[in-house]
């Protein structure tokens, strides 16, 4: 085909223990915006890094402008005209805009002396072509995130890129900035640049893209024209699992109400969120990334301050608690990013388990080691954690076993309510079902449990009741037989459709 600028043929890439890409093929046409969607870990970023020369595929080839091409490194990719705009911007804050546009490829004479005027002139041209409101001499660190992104996009002009890959470009942009970005993308498109657009945000995908390729577990599920499809179909392609995961649901025996939230609001994040959860109940919170789920529970726990609303603990109004108060009352929040918030990676399992409750394990500030060890052993066997000993650094453990230690450290304080934010993200199937069993077990022992998940089968499988969230609002609540994938998709996409329209 003549109208294909870049074609990926049967690329496979294996990392230790994971097949990140499995025989992936897709193509990009000049002047199109091609969406690449899939759940976290589906292989989108790996694929893009292979195109940009940051990963070398194990097999398969890249056909660029009609000829099989090997991209040897990031600079090579850029000089060939393939540009990756990173999600976490790849800029040097202390250098100027012009220097960043040409980062690593500065124009120099043969003695390595910079041609500053040429650098400045070319950078100015690229910035003008994009209509940027800042000059080439500004230090990048003083620019806003959106402007920094424009600096990266200016590289497309500077290197006359034929293919530009955007990885989650709107993650930290405001709505106005997003409109400007889309304007820029349409400009690139009009000039025949092939664009790959990776995003979790479905409304954006339907807004800007021409075709959509869906990845799941490293495999291409299909490519569809955006005009001929709808959110339902794409979502189904993204989540429809072939893996039969067996879910255990706790017996539905509920006790007293533990937590009730009334009309909780935080401007810009969520509005008028109300729900309650009882002893022995598992409440699911479903929604796509960015729906405000984590923000709601973080506010309940006290990490964020709400603007309005009430929180009741066992029937009593507790105003807005601080995290310390929440922990003391018996609330536990197991955060999403266990590496950043959950664990001290260099410490062993023993120290990590006792960390939030050192007062339980010490007298006059002196640690009671036998007690600490006993607790460690108790949870190691209860959660069947695979570790060589109490002091093996948790950084050496698998994601599943790390997650179990995160749970252990909250469980040993004997909480009444435990909130799990994406408890099985990024861990293997075996550990997933162990954690699902644990959730059921906790509920049967009388704990109230809130589970946040973007995986529909999981949230339906473990919960007694599910709240669907979209764009900061609870849009539906399902119980019993109403808890089906169709209903959840409808609730979330209907709302999104309205919002987009």
């Amino acid at each position: 085909m003549d109208d294909v600028i870049l074609k990926v043929e049967g690329i496979t890439k294996t990392f230790p223990g994971v097949k990140a890409l499995d025989n992936v093929s897709f193509d990009i046409r000049p002047g199109e915006v091609h969406a690449l969607v899939g759940e976290n870990g589906a292989g989108k970023s790996t694929l893009m890094k292979a195109l940009a020369g940051l990963h070398k595929p194990d097999s398969g080839q890249i056909v660029y402008q009609g000829a099989p091409t090997e991209v040897t490194g990031p600079l090579d990719a850029r000089q060939k005209g393939i540009l990756l705009i990173h999600q976490e911007l790849s800029l040097s804050p202390e250098l100027s805009v012009a220097e960043n546009i040409y980062l690593g490829a500065w124009p120099t004479n043969r003695f390595g002396v910079l041609k500053k005027r040429e650098l400045r002139r070319n950078a100015s041209k690229a910035l003008e072509a994009l209509g940027c409101g800042f000059g080439p001499d500004v230090r990048v660190g003083t620019l806003s995130v959106a402007m920094q992104q424009m600096v990266e996009i200016a590289r497309a002009e500077a290197f006359s890129a034929n293919v530009v890959i955007f990885d989650e470009p709107t993650a930290s942009l405001t709505d106005t900035e997003k409109d400007q970005l889309f304007h820029t993308i349409r400009g690139l498109k009009a000039r025949g640049v092939g664009i790959v657009y990776i995003s979790h945000k479905m409304d954006e995908i339907f807004d800007i893209t021409d075709r959509i390729t869906v990845l799941r577990d490293g495999q291409v599920q299909g490519t569809v024209d955006t005009a001929d499809t709808d959110l339902n179909q794409v979502t189904r392609m993204m989540i429809g699992r072939t893996l039969d995961t067996f879910f255990v649901k706790a017996k539905a025996e509920f006790g007293e109400e533990v937590l009730r939230v009334e009309e909780l609001s935080k401007s810009g994040l969520f509005q008028d969120v109300s729900f309650s959860v009882r002893e022995g109940e598992v409440l699911g919170l479903y929604g796509l990334v960015g729906a405000g789920r984590s923000e709601v529970v973080e506010t309940v726990f006290g990490v964020r301050r709400a603007d309005g609303g009430k929180i009741f603990w066992k029937g009593g109004d507790i105003a807005l608690p601080t995290p310390r108060q929440s922990i003391d009352m018996g609330m536990a929040l197991v955060p999403e990013s266990r590496k950043e918030q959950g664990l001290v990676l260099m410490m062993g399992g023993r120290e990590n388990t006792s960390l939030p409750h050192l007062s339980l394990f010490s007298e006059l500030s002196v640690m009671n080691r036998p007690k600490e060890l006993a607790t460690f052993e108790k949870y190691r066997s209860a959660l069947s954690i695979k570790t060589t000993g109490p002091d093996q650094a948790v950084s050496q453990l698998s994601g599943g076993n790390q997650q179990k230690f995160v749970l252990a450290k909250w469980l040993c304080a004997d909480p009444k309510l435990i909130i799990l934010d994406e408890p099985t993200r990024g861990i293997d199937v075996g550990s997933k079902s162990a954690i699902h069993e644990l959730i059921a077990d906790l509920a049967e022992r009388g704990l109230a449990v809130i589970v946040i998940s973007s995986e529909m089968p999981e949230v339906l499988g473990v919960s007694h009741r599910v709240l669907a969230m979209s764009e900061g609002a609870v849009v539906a609540e399902f119980e019993g037989d109403d808890m089906t994938e169709e209903n959840l998709i409808d609730a979330v996409s209907h709302h999104r459709g309205e919002a987009a329209a």
Binding site: L54, G73, P74, L75, D76, R78, L84, H86, L89, S90, L91, S92, P93, E94, L95, E99, L103, G104, A105, W106, T108, F111, G112, V113, L114, K116, G131, C132, G133, F134, G135, D137, V138, T142, L143, S144, A146, M147, M150, T176, Q180
Partner: protein, 324 residues
């Protein structure tokens, strides 16, 4: 578009203020000069200024290499030991092969050791603090082995006259320091290698993603740093006419202090030779001024320690870099 920048080009006054904020060490230097001028009649004399420049030049030459390495986000603790080795070789070998071949070999020893430091840092992934701490101890040991634990004396005293060239009160050593500093400032601001230095220290992933050969780059800067340490050692051997095995002990620390005092960021990505010159001169002025006032040695150390902390607090307040 509604995109607007926070600070672009302002009035000349603003840009001067901006430069002073970023190079606050020069304000600090001016202050110390004023204080000592008032405190001692001997301070602000042509002779004494010449002395300060010559005294400061030794740490200054080390500080140039250290600045490059520190903007890269690394550190080199072995410069004091490399200095001692180069100085010992330059004096020890000249009886066998003549002055200039010995000087050349001394320089090469510094380049080679810097290269080894850089290679170990770049290829092993060990932190440069550890690698060059090993160098600090190991190379000093080598100096003792080579010199047989004695100070080596120069036989032909014309060697000590080589640096005795003055332009007005400014010695050859001081001129060399200033020339090297200006040259490397030009390297930093006007060459590819200079841009790479900032890019690597500022955001190493971005630099790598942009296709910069980070490893080769770091090896080059460590080699420059080692070579400059050898230059310093040879100048010292010319000045003293002897090479002591203990020469340059803890000079690496004074060097780091001078660079940090100047405002170059320990975590890398930010700094310049202007700042380092300011830091070096401030350090030299403090030492010289305190001695003119007959301050006891231990008090001098206390004052220097206090000044270092104060300068860093000032830097934090003025530039409030929350991104530590």
């Amino acid at each position: 578009m509604s995109l607007a920048t926070e600070s672009q080009t302002g009035s000349p006054l603003q840009s001067v203020l901006g430069w002073l904020l970023r190079n606050h060490i020069w304000v600090f230097l001016a202050l110390t000069v004023v204080v000592f001028s008032l405190a001692s009649p001997y301070f602000l004399t042509v002779n004494n200024i010449g002395n300060i420049l010559t005294q400061g030049a030794f740490i200054g030459i080390l500080a140039i290499g250290m600045t490059l390495v520190m903007i890269d986000g690394e550190i080199d603790l072995s410069v004091g030991a490399i200095l001692a080795l180069a100085s010992a070789l330059a004096i020890g070998l000249q009886d066998h092969m003549g002055v200039w071949p010995a000087v050349f070999l001394g320089l090469m020893s510094g380049a080679a050791l810097g290269f080894v430091n850089g290679t170990l840092v770049a290829l092993s992934g060990m932190h440069s603090f550890i690698v060059t701490l090993g160098g600090l101890i190991g190379i000093r040991g080598l100096v003792f082995v080579y010199s047989g634990e004695n100070a080596l004396m120069v036989q032909d005293f014309s060697y000590t006259e080589i640096p005795e060239i003055y332009i007005g009160p400014i010695s050859l050593t001081a001129m060399l320091f200033l020339a090297l500093a200006l040259f490397f400032q030009w390297v930093l601001s006007s060459t590819r290698h200079g841009r790479e230095t900032y890019a690597v220290g500022d955001n190493i992933e971005a630099a790598h993603d942009a296709g910069i050969n980070v490893k080769r780059h770091k090896i080059i800067n460590f080699t420059i740093c080692g070579t400059l340490a050898a230059v310093c050692g040879i100048l010292l051997s010319m000045r003293l006419g002897t090479a002591e095995p203990n020469a340059g002990k803890i000079w690496e620390l004074w060097t780091i202090i001078a660079v940090v005092l100047g405002g170059t960021r320990l975590q890398g990505g930010f700094g310049s030779m202007w700042m380092t010159i300011g830091g070096v001169l401030t350090l030299a002025v403090l030492r010289n001024g305190l001695r003119l006032l007959n301050t006891p040695n231990y008090v001098e150390l206390m004052v220097m320690g206090g000044v270092l902390v104060l300068a860093l607090v000032l830097d934090k307040l003025l530039n409030h870099k929350g991104d530590t």
